[in-house]
């Protein structure tokens, strides 16, 4: 059965390691913060200018001067810090963020990603996504494997304008966990009850299946 958004986030949370600095994009990636494994401490960066982002504020405690990159009101945890946007992207560009999680419209088997613009629709802008994908040491994409009409979003070539090239390292979709390798998408794990064949049918890019593919564990 395909994963829910929460389950995708939960699976991505297993990629976290103790001591990681992590940037979580808008949407499913934001949910990852709810599933940080026991005994692991990570620091969340928000690219508008904070480290140590905490949960949303208690009712009545919201502060207009403390928002995240999605413009939501947030809190700061002990050990956090605030800084200007050029310093924030110095951290990102300089490779100091250990893991970046973001959503995508499409990815390719070479690690290209399209996530910001759909021709014919109003352009909202790339925000920090191009900076993040161009510089992150480790990028995990959280996405649906197919569009609503069942078209694969894991492609040989993106059909939409690119956000970055050859940058995605891992994909956690509602159906599978895949690693981007020189030879294409290496299938690592299946969603519970989803077969390799199910995944193969909806993966338009090169798919590599080596031996037995385990189900994801939660």
């Amino acid at each position: 059965m395909a994963l829910s958004k929460e389950q995708i986030a939960q699976r991505i949370a297993q990629e976290l390691k103790d001591g990681y600095y992590v940037n979580l994009g808008i949407g499913i990636p934001t949910l990852v913060a709810n599933y940080v494994p026991e005994g692991i401490e990570v620091v969340l960066q928000s690219e508008n200018g904070m480290l140590g982002m905490g949960p949303f504020p208690e009712k009545g405690q919201a502060d207009a001067d403390m928002i995240n990159a999605g413009k939501q009101t947030v809190t700061v945890l002990p050990g956090g810090s605030f800084f200007d946007s050029s310093a924030s992207f110095a951290m990102i560009r300089g490779g100091h963020v250990d893991l970046t999680v973001l959503g995508a419209f499409e990815v390719t088997d070479k690690g290209d990603i399209a996530s910001w613009k759909i021709p014919g629709k109003m352009v909202k802008g790339m925000g920090g996504a191009m900076d993040l994908v161009a510089s992150a040491k480790n990028i995990v994409v959280a996405m649906q494997h197919c569009s609503k009409d069942g078209e694969s979003k894991l492609l040989k070539e993106c059909t939409l304008p690119l956000t970055g090239v050859a940058c995605v390292k891992k994909i956690v979709s509602d159906l599978a966990v895949l690693e981007v390798t020189d030879d294409g998408f290496l299938l690592l794990e299946r969603a519970p009850g989803v077969s390799v064949e199910d995944i193969r049918k909806v993966t338009a890019g090169r798919l590599i299946v080596n031996g037995e593919i385990p189900e994801m564990k939660f």
Partner: protein, 229 residues
């Protein structure tokens, strides 16, 4: 070294049609509300505004858009504004989109006398169109140029008569880099104190970057996405 002016209108002395403005803030946070309001009630038009976002319909740069005072927006994300969309689709507004980190660094570079620098962001995308590409450490980078503005308009939490500024929490955002890059930088602050009252170790923007400062009033500090536990 007293840089204090009475209010936003006085701070905007010398602004003219067609000028380039940097406007600090991210979303609706850290916006120079008083100065934007004074601009909105002025006659100035044909502005090029460099600002990470374009406000919402009835707050921030949305006011200037509604009045058709803006000719061109240079931003990283502009997606919350219906009037913006209408003007863009009608060809009444030019828009240049720049990756957020590149935008911040281009402002800092403008203030720091660095005319151009290389970054990896945007390589292989439409952002790279027409830009010089060079490989460093095996990775392709784009040459990006500094941005400067006739006026930079920023908002800080505290400021002193010398123009020293301290920002609060994430309301710093683009204000600090933009304050460096204005030929004239206007700072509005929530609390204006005499020189010597701020700890010199805690200044985010040293006064050398600020030409005019005033105490703002009636801050609405609107929250775009109130999210509670």
């Amino acid at each position: 070294m007293n840089k204090v002016v009475k209010n936003a209108s006085e701070a905007l002395y010398g602004i003219r049609d067609g000028m380039t403005l940097m406007v600090g803030g991210f979303g609706l946070s850290g916006l120079p509300e008083n100065t934007i309001a004074a601009l909105a009630s002025s006659e100035v038009k044909g502005l090029t505004c460099i600002s990470n976002n374009a406000g919402v319909d009835d707050f921030g740069l949305g006011y200037l858009l509604k009045n058709r005072q803006i000719k061109k927006m240079i931003s990283s994300y502009v997606g919350e504004n219906a009037e913006f969309e209408r003007q863009l689709l009608n060809g009444e507004l030019e828009v240049e989109l720049i990756p957020q980190g590149t935008l911040a660094e281009r402002c800092r570079a403008g203030g720091a006398g660095i005319p151009a620098f290389f970054v990896p962001a945007g390589y292989g995308t439409e952002v790279a169109d027409g830009k010089e590409v060079r490989v460093f450490n095996g990775k392709p980078h784009l040459l990006e140029h500094a941005l400067v503005a006739d006026f930079a308009i920023v908002k800080a939490w505290k400021g002193d008569t010398h123009g020293n500024l301290i920002y609060r929490h994430t309301a710093n955002n683009f204000n600090q880099a933009m304050a460096m890059a204005g030929k004239i930088t206007i700072a509005e602050v929530e609390e204006l104190v005499p020189a010597g009252e701020l700890d010199p170790n805690q200044i985010h923007t040293p006064g050398i970057f600020v030409q005019r400062i005033f105490q703002g009033k009636d801050y609405e500090k609107r929250i775009e996405r109130l999210t509670e536990r």
